[in-house]
Amino acid sequence: MRVPLEWLKEYVDINVTSDELVQKLTLGGLEVTAIEDTPFGKIFEVEATSNRPDWLSLLGIAREIYALEGKGKLKWPNTSLPHKRGFEKIFNIIIMDREMCPRYTARIIENVKVESSPDWLKKKVESMGLRSICNVVDITNFVLFEYGQPLHAFDLNKIVGSQIVVRLAKNGEKIKTLDGIERTLNKETLVIADVQKPIAIAGVMGSENSEVDFNTTNVILESACFDATSVRKTSRKIGLITDSSYRFERTVDWEAVRQANDRAAYLICKYAGGRLREEFFDSAPAKRSLKKIKISQQEISEILAIEIDSEEIRNILKRLGISLKKSTKTSFECEIPSYRRDLTIAVDLIEEIARIFSYDKIPIRLPVVKPNLELECSKLHKTEDVIKEIFVSLGFNEVINYSLTGSEVLRNLRLKLDDVIPIQNPISSEVAVLRPSLLSGIVQSLSYNLNRRVEQVKIFELAHVYSRETRKIEEKLNVSFGLSGLKYIYDWEDKPKNLDFFDAKGTVEALFKALRISNFNFSETGFLNLFNPSNAAAIMLKEKMVGYIGEVCKELLEDFNINTPVFVGELFVDSIFPFIDFNRKFVPFSSYPFVARDIAVVIGESIPASNIISVIRRIGKELVKDIRLFDRYIGSQVSCGCVSLAFNIKYQSEKKTLTDEEVNELHSKICLALQEELKVQIR
């Protein structure tokens, strides 16, 4: 809200510079977000939090300055007019729903001369950012900013049937509001209507056909209280927020309803030459009882950890306009003024005392913290951190992608859309569903970087995916990675090579080794449709699929503007977690030396290498310490359709040094078994 400093000074003494005032207000809780030098003098922009609707008026801000300063004077406008009964004799007002409209006041002013406003009024209205319209309308706006109470002036002669009804609209009823827009209403909207038609959307905006113009002679002035929730709902529904609706939805001050009406009527008579009718309509004239809150000095000093004596507490409460009813030296019964609807319980008062006392004066202390053992021993956080660290040590850069994606991206990757969870109110179609897999983000990140000619991209992401399984929405933790480009960017010693399927496989193997997971294997089926089936594998742990790796189908890469091979993988962390071994136990290694032997095996290309390895292990048993593939050769030295695999086998015993004869014997046995069982050739 805009606060013109010169105007504000009419209501409260300000004896500090504008910069000092900004500091005081900001540190007191009313944040000044900008100071402008304008033709109207200095204007503050203040941010009134939603719990302080009383700050949406200049008088409210004057009260705040008075409370913070503790000295000076408040200069309240003093306009009290007669409130004679008998209004219904001149005009009929019917309130159909007292809950939607708890208080409605009205006054009639006859023979007004509607003209352009006097200079002082024009300036004040313009300083608040509004256009000056005419004296009567400007006065209603002036009083709105003064008291925070929205008012509306109707042209009496345009109201049909000498009657105003405050009622709910009928479905389909139309109204052309002051902004020139024709609106269709529904039965949840509260309207002000005459016998024929709605003449205002209650609390939001009046209609064109009842507005005060330069031909108006008789005015009926409305000052009312409308239900906050109803005004808010209506305002959101029709997409219209006005200075009025903004204040009603935060709840206006009950007491100000009448005061503002008097003030506006007084000003209209003074500056628009009208004759005031003394009859006053008030649907709820009875005085409302004020809220009482009990608070003790002990509570205050305990919660704030300050030393404050009861004299100081009294002073602060008084400055805030709070009267003390039955109070002792240490406990206070506080009567809360009508404009402080935000003060309902003791802690609300404690905040008031703290901020007037000054938050700065509250000491700094460290509590004695007691950790929660169950949380401290949680393994899941450790797992997440460990997985991330492993990927970092393998040379991957962590990425963070949006959890939301678009159906188009999912379709481009042949991911199933049936169990995908949509957002009811998305901000765009590109981020309208929750991602069921991290791969869409990984492929997009790979695309982004490859398109910027990054020669080697190794990325990973550990985050949640969302889908509907068995009718329930589930949130699962996955880790996914992507590889593309050169294997080694900086290696000028060897021939350049590209990252391939085996780098992806190796990543998974390294990850599982670091997590001490064994008993896993790779299967040729079960992976997603985005993979090239000749170059992909599913990862199995105890016969359950826990992820997949492989090359992304070349045809799909077109949609992502990628024209180099791309390898990705995804693992379900929730499924892997139970298999992680968090215990570390030392396993003694043999003190006897190993003997190494090479073996080159020629087999048909379609025979899996694992067949060879299982035979070697089976025959060699515990004496085969390690089997390392060091070459795979296809070429002229080997028959067509065959491949030569060269292994280095390390033989070692836990109990003694193996002799050459023992090793040779075992090695021959293995060679024989390979030849007999697998029909291979040994080179």
């Binding site: 939603s50 905040e351 509250i362 950790p371 939301l404």
Partner: protein, 335 residues
Amino acid sequence: MQEKLREIETIAQQEITRATSVEELENVRIQYLGRKGVLTELLRNIKDIPLSERPLIGKQANVIKQKLLSSIEVRIRTVGRQEKRGKKVDITLPGIKPAVGTLHPITQVTKEIGNIFSSLGFSRIDGPEIETTFRNFEALNIPQDHPSRDSFDTFYLEKDLLLRSHTSPVQIRAMEKYRPPLYIFVPGRVYRPDAVDASHSFMFHQIEGLAVDKGITFADLKGVLHMFVLKMFGEKTKMRFRPHFFPFTEPSAEVDISCIICGGKGCRVCSQKGWLEILGAGMVHPNVFRSVGYEPKQCRGFAFGMGVERIAMLKYGIDDIRFFFENDCRFLRQF
């Protein structure tokens, strides 16, 4: 004869000095001092020398022999060292760097912040991103159709599920599961339907904290946050608490730090104010305790929260929040 010996010594020494390999030196030794060596041959012919001169010649020859052996030994050591070192390498050729991985800056900042609170004794807890309306709003004293709901508006899924707009629902879960004393911090992703621009994103990260225990005061809240500010931004950093409003805390505050760019003098980053807002905090509202089944009259607690992207942008001088989610390697590899 003496002349001859001196000549041989000189030539042999030259050859020793010129030798560049152990092999060459071995050849020199064989050539001069071996069984068929020059010196050896010469000494064989000592019978041709008169008797009186023989002892002198013999002594001279031996001296020369020892000298040459010594020179050869020394030279072998030098040349041997050189041989072991191998051919001289061009050290200005680029090194072969293995790929160095990185954690995302958001992960790094989250870790750093988490470590500070861990060091103060707070335990980390996580919770789901998909939440119920109750835990995201009503349990936190944010009623339906209330203006305060505007600042926390979020994405709705189906029935009464939504994407959480802050990590506070996890604190509700923690209080539903555990009894006080409770000292926790919660990192996590949150969602707000804001249009994406340089300082807003519809998805971002928060870290919130909660302490519920007998005798917790506002001073404790100040103390914990002060310690955080000093550890995170440096001992010279100043902190100030400003009254504010949150539906789930009362008293509430916004916490500023002295601008880390200009030190408080005023600059573009802090909009000339000298202060940067980084945290929201306050004493837990009794209605929140009530909604989790804690007895409000017996409970005291404080809570605080901060945006991780904001802290990261201040700390690393990043001026556009979109960098975090674009995942450009040129950005990621800087951290």
